[in-house]
């Protein structure tokens, strides 16, 4: 018995060591980003590098705000990610509800169109989408940034999966009590779907905040760039100013790290909602 316990103990120690190494490997680059952001710019050209900064400074962040439209980029990211998230929550909940709980001519077809379109790579749509948005005169505008993102199919699939599990009896009871379709949806379905709505909201917001390809293509002026597209712009223009670049990266990463830490339980449980079971 004792040897078995010993064996288990040493096994756990080895596990902990392996886990810590793997976790550290992924964590060190993030640490390095933050440390570099607070260094004097000249110190990045020092070898061996300073692993722990001796004289941290805010200088890189200050020059970032002075030399760039950083405030505007942040505002754009908030506007785009916020609008897409709120609109997606409502539209996907409605569409998901209809597909999950209503039997009507074409309901299966809608479901299959939505689910199969999730396999289509972004590259397929961006070229025609760009021509279309250009024809609508929406290049370099919020409309061009926002509308195509709201059209993404994943949220509908996610809500449909969740709403299948809602009991039909409650919906029927509400209808018998005389509640109309929209009242039932608003007063019964939405409140019961809060966990799934939270998951969809958080994932959409993070995804939109981090999205790069479409903002890169659809924006032209610096004023309309989102944070990610703006960062890429700085990276292209001053590829060697590492302290400055890392300050920008840190500035763009911190809001999402805060979102992650505050909604941790949704992240660490949430992604499973949409998975096949």
């Amino acid at each position: 018995m004792n040897t078995m316990k010993m064996k288990r103990f040493s096994k756990k120690t080895v596990s902990l060591i392996i886990l810590s190494i793997l976790a550290l490997l992924a964590f060190i680059p993030l640490y390095w980003m933050i440390v570099t952001a607070f260094k004097e710019p000249t110190l990045t050209m020092k070898f061996p590098p300073e692993i722990f900064p001796k004289n941290p400074t805010f200088q890189n962040f200050e020059s970032l705000f002075q030399r760039r439209d950083l405030f505007r980029w942040t505002l754009n990211s908030v506007i785009v990610a916020g609008t897409v998230t709120i609109t997606q929550i409502f539209l996907c909940a409605m569409a998901g509800y209809a597909i999950a709980k209503k039997r009507f001519p074409g309901s299966k077809i809608f479901f299959w169109i939505y689910i199969s379109s999730m396999m289509i790579p972004k590259q397929v749509t961006i070229v025609p989408l760009y021509i279309m948005v250009a024809n609508f005169g929406m290049v370099d505008s919020y409309g061009g940034l926002i509308l195509p993102s709201i059209a993404a199919p994943f949220g509908v699939f996610l809500m449909r999966q969740f709403m299948l599990s809602l009991p039909n009896e409650i919906i029927d009871a509400a209808r018998i009590d005389g509640a109309g379709e929209f009242r039932t949806f608003w007063k019964i379905i939405l409140p019961m779907s809060k966990p799934a709505l939270a998951v969809l909201g958080i994932f959409t917001f993070v995804g939109e905040w981090n999205s790069f390809l479409w903002p890169l293509i659809v924006t032209q002026s610096s004023k309309m760039k989102t944070l990610q597209a703006g960062l890429a712009l700085i990276q292209e223009e001053v590829p060697m100013e590492y302290a400055y670049l890392m300050a920008g990266a840190t500035f763009a990463a911190i809001p999402m790290i805060i979102v992650f830490l505050s909604f941790q339980k949704y992240f660490l449980r949430g992604v499973t909602v949409g998975a096949v079971k």
Partner: protein
């Protein structure tokens, strides 16, 4: 007539679906169809001429496209198995610990996942810097020669694969852990009492029971990595000597740097067909050898 009646009776359902579906149709389905149509055109700034399958012919006789396709396969089949292996290893290793420790590690591995690919690429460009980068500092401290990671055509693509494996896997770990906690614990206990080794337990119990989740992660991971773009855009622009050129990056360059929009559409269609084929092969392969 009956159909119309039934549609009218269910008008509420259509009203619920329409707001999203209208946008989905306009900004997703129509572009997909239009993309297919565009791929048959010589569509650029100066001309819009129907040319049938000439774009496809041109792509298949273009060495650069084959190079990009080869790189994309190398990258995808380099990243996906390693990253899935890492996720499985972490999932199995954290399983016996108490909840607090499990959550801590899951959070640590998830953290890089909430930072954008642009940010991760910028950080690693700095880490890979041949003169002042963190990685060459480590190389020198253990007595190895510094490496020009991204500047050498032999090491550039493997460096990108390494970076992706080190930073990735967070969401897969969460997914696999959730699936693993639904396996009844007595299965593991019984196997252990019977004297099965950890490897046997892993092969005969864990992997077969996690199969649906592994399959899902495999297909999703393949789709995502096959479209690798941001890393390439920020870090290498396909170089040196096209050694990191991916199809997704080539589509971008063809469309938005050279404005050959028809040609780019044709490339994206080929990409789509390959992805569907890969997904079908994976489904077939994994569901054919289910053994309980």
């Amino acid at each position: 007539m009956n159909l119309l009646k039934s549609i009218w009776k269910n008008k509420a359902a259509y009203l619920f679906i329409m707001p999203h579906f209208a946008l989905f149709l306009t900004f997703f389905l129509i572009p997909v169809g239009w993309g297919m149509y565009l791929s048959l055109f010589d569509y650029s700034v100066f001309s819009q001429e129907f040319i049938g399958f000439d774009n496809y012919k041109e792509i298949f006789s273009d060495n650069l496209f084959w190079k990009a396709l080869g790189n994309t396969f190398l990258y995808t089949f380099g990243v996906v198995p390693l990253w899935l292996g890492k996720a499985l290893l972490v999932t199995v290793l954290i399983y016996p610990f108490r909840k607090g420790i499990r959550t801590f590690f899951k959070a640590m591995f998830y953290l890089p996942h909430v930072s954008s690919t642009v940010i991760i690429a910028m950080i690693w460009l700095w880490v890979f810097n041949p003169n002042f980068g963190l990685l060459n500092f480590f190389m020198e401290s253990v007595g190895l020669d510094p490496v020009v990671w991204l500047g050498n055509k032999a090491t550039a693509l493997p460096s990108l694969i390494m970076m992706q494996v080190i930073m990735g896997g967070g969401s897969t770990i969460v997914l696999l852990s959730a699936a693993m906690s639904s396996i009844p614990e007595y299965l593991f206990e019984a196997a252990e009492i019977e004297g099965a080794s950890s490897w046997q337990i892993f092969r005969k119990i864990t992997v077969p029971l996690l199969k649906p989740t592994i399959l899902y992660s495999l297909v999703m991971g393949t789709i995502a990595n096959f479209q690798t773009f941001s890393n390439i855009y920020i870090m290498t622009e396909g170089g040196p000597e096209f050694s990191t050129l991916t199809v997704a990056y080539l589509v971008y360059e063809t469309a938005f740097k050279n404005y050959y929009l028809g040609l780019a559409s044709a490339m994206s269609m080929i990409m789509f067909v390959i992805l569907v084929a890969l997904a079908l092969i994976q489904f077939k392969w994994l569901s054919s050898n289910v053994e309980y």
